[in-house]
Amino acid sequence: MNHESTISRSDGWLAAPIGEELMMMSADSSAYLSLAGSGGRIWELLEKPRTLAGLCEALAAEYTVQPSEIRDEVLVFLEGLHLQHAIQLHPSALA
């Protein structure tokens, strides 16, 4: 995954909030997932496909930090979602 990779949600996942947490169910219904805090916000922001850079900028603006400060954490989180097949990565043509 690089800065210009596009990230999109995988099809068929369900998501609904309970309090501060976002509950999710995989498309094949085999697993439930819970995203807390900014994790839930990242899922919401991915309603439209975004580049990693675009996602970090949008998130940083909301939390009033620099995109560079959160990039590593966002990457780890996205890798987790990718492992669960909840998102798809589309490498940029320039990569």
Partner: protein
């Protein structure tokens, strides 16, 4: 068990006897050789009854019940269901004997025990019957030779009715429920976890029984769900009845060779109740205090999934999305709690006090945790 005739419901003893004979006749082994051979031992009760009463030809008997807010018309007595005075209402559900195919033509899901296909559910229980549950409004059974009436009844009211309720869009949890302070309090757990016994103890304290074992949840307004009374008796182990000091009647045995009995609750709730709380039963370790704590949302989701009446049915009927949505809504509108408790009957009062205390906090919205003081 065969229900006693009830003059209040307009069924005379004679009518009932004739209907009962016909019913028993249909339960007899359908074989070409004489049915009194050694291999018919498991139907001794039905045979005994048949020899006492002549089989008369008459109209097919109908027994009416009110189960989960539905008027059920059955050709056979449903043991444990309490007869209801709903004779003049059109039935929502028909339960009848009939031919059931061995297979469905183009099944979507198929296992050894069942097949499903657009609103049809075929269930095969060897030694009992084949059942076809259709479009949430009919259960047809095709009996295997030698099936006992009580066993048939257990499957009709258990798995078949759960399938039917799911076909109607309900959630079905493996839970017993009572009405407390205008809300349904549900107790979930695997078989033997003590659901019915806890419900029975609360009934003895004056609470009304809503459901035993099979608990339906129907969407109400917003995120809330309601539990509709299932109009049936408690199923209790002999040991529990003894400790509750409730007497067991031999003809109320759930089935042959099992020390479980039906017991009519002292008070039954007649009206739907909104879900107040869902408790997951757990046995406390030795020395551990009874306690109630709210489960984290994801744990609550997993417990609700695990405590579906038959988790495999949820998948077979492709209802995972409905269960997910309902589980989220139930946690928003009610809450899922882990109830850890000592199982001894001697300490039962402490446990019931704790539950009542918890219900008070629920209505005041103050606390979500409680435990018995050391």
């Amino acid at each position: 068990m065969i229900a006693d005739s009830n003059p209040a419901l307009g069924v005379t003893h004679e009518q009932h006897t004739a209907e009962r004979s016909k019913y028993l006749a249909c339960l007899l082994p359908r074989r070409t050789h004489p049915p009194f051979g050694m291999d018919c031992h498991c139907n001794a009760r039905a045979l005994g009854a048949l020899m006492k009463f002549d089989v008369s030809s008459g109209p097919t008997p109908h027994y009416r019940y009110s189960i989960c807010g539905l008027v059920v018309q059955s050709e056979v007595v449903l043991a444990s269901a309490i007869m209801a005075a709903v004779e003049h209402q059109a039935p929502d559900i028909i339960i009848r004997a009939g031919d059931v195919p061995a297979r469905l033509e183009s099944a979507l899901h198929a296992t050894e025990a069942w097949e499903t296909q657009n609103g049809l559910f075929l269930l095969r229980i060897p030694g009992v019957a084949r059942f076809l549950v259709r479009q949430g409004c009919e259960i047809v059974f095709d009996l295997d030779p030698g099936c006992e009436s009580r066993t048939l009844s257990l499957y009709l009211l258990g798995t078949c009715f759960a399938i039917l309720l799911q076909q109607r869009g309900n959630l079905v949890l493996h839970a017993s429920a009572i009405a407390g302070g205008g809300r349904a309090m549900l107790f979930c757990g695997r078989s033997g976890a003590g659901k019915s016994t806890l419900a029975a103890m609360l009934c003895r304290r004056g609470y009304a029984l809503l459901n035993d074992d099979v608990c339906n949840l129907t969407p109400a307004t917003g995120d809330s769900y309601e539990v509709r009374p299932d109009g049936r008796m408690l199923k209790l182990w002999s040991e529990s009845l003894d400790k509750l000091e409730w007497s067991k009647q031999p003809d109320m045995a759930v089935r042959a060779n099992i020390e479980k009995y039906f017991f009519a609750p002292p008070v039954s709730e007649a009206h739907p109740q909104p879900v107040g709380a869902i408790y997951i039963l757990r046995e406390a370790s030795p020395g551990e205090q009874n306690s109630i704590c709210r489960l984290r949302a994801i744990a609550g989701m997993n417990e609700l999934k695990r405590n579906a009446y038959r988790p495999a049915l949820v998948a077979a009927m492709e209802m995972e999305k409905a269960y997910f949505t309902a589980s989220v809504a139930l946690q928003r509108s009610a809450g899922v709690y882990l109830l850890s408790r000592q199982l001894s009957f001697g300490a039962a009062d402490l446990l019931l006090d704790l539950l009542e205390e918890h219900w008070n906090t629920l209505s005041s919205g103050v606390s979500i945790e409680a435990s018995n003081e050391p």
